[in-house]
Symmetry: C2
Subunit: 190 residues, 2 copies
Amino acid sequence: MNKALHSNQAHFISLLARLSRLINHEGHAVGLKPAQWDALRYLAQANKFSRSPSALTAYLGATKGTISQTLMSLEKKGLVEKTQDPNDKRSVGLDLTTAGKALAKEDALRPFANVIEVLPVEDQKDIEEALEKLLRAKLRSEGNRPFGICKSCRHFRKNTPSGEPHYCSLLNEPLSELGSEKICLEQEAA
Amino acid sequence: MNKALHSNQAHFISLLARLSRLINHEGHAVGLKPAQWDALRYLAQANKFSRSPSALTAYLGATKGTISQTLMSLEKKGLVEKTQDPNDKRSVGLDLTTAGKALAKEDALRPFANVIEVLPVEDQKDIEEALEKLLRAKLRSEGNRPFGICKSCRHFRKNTPSGEPHYCSLLNEPLSELGSEKICLEQEAA
DNA sequence: TAAAAATGTATCGAGTCGATACTATTATCG
DNA sequence: CGATAATAGTATCGACTCGATACATTTTTA
């Protein structure tokens, strides 16, 4: 039943598709491709535990093979460095180089974000909340990890006497003030 | 000045990018690629004057070459038919075949749209309005045509005695009731 | 300890996409 | 009127995406 699109849905789909296209199009700037920007952006925001090919794969919802290729091209451009994990010889750690960090700051999507800033502040808030709601609803419907910020995780322990100010009770690792602001693969709402 | 991203902007960009990625990902369903779905969707909604490669090029913001290829593959799949314009031998008209129309009804983005429907009706409205605002702001900032619906155009003349119920004063063409609901390249707000 | 699971890489084929060059046809304007 | 410019499309190149499949190495688990 209800096989046909009712008109509200058609309009909504149009909006989604056009918006996505505009965003994607913007991502072709400055010598990188949209998927490469996605990876760069993630690596700039993710904490140490989450900077691996497999975490990136989960975050971007792609396949391992695709991510492997994207990372290879970023490495060839001198934006990303790989390091072997000494504990697990299968695993690879990812870090942005200085050039990579610099480029991440000049995000290709900034022109798009700038468009918002000329709108009334109230609209800005509305739009941001709406996007957030939509994103979370979709992630939830697919059973995906939210990839939230460390600080807001149920495994986050504040002000521990472990050398570093905070602590992760899942990975049993100390956390710096800065690290606790980053995106984590393991994040679960508190 | 303000070369660095302030944190609100970074969060906003993250949202945009992730959302776009999810939408794009959804578009890989059922044997078509996202760009092919974009073309199919447009052709299903555009009026006769706007079903040409060049109009599609403007709508999707791509280059002529890319669109030409996308259309070739849709033609090869039996979803689109081309017809020579008798008045202008350079121009090509595009029509969905029966199969094309059927496929357009099963839009790849429906699962995404369905996610909305479980949200409170109020949220649905908020999200739709927010998306619309964002889209229009971006189109405006790039000086793009809005590609709105015929009926809401300043060239739309209602209830004319021209055989068909309505009329376009720009193209000097009669319009059917159904045609006046479609997307038009030439649309300008009334 | 053998089988299963996890982490990555390699490769294929279809497609995207910007760029450039090219062919026809139609408009413009001197 | 006729040269030149603008329009509408196609053809081709190179880098990249992306799903799929196959494969090689480690861990894990049973």
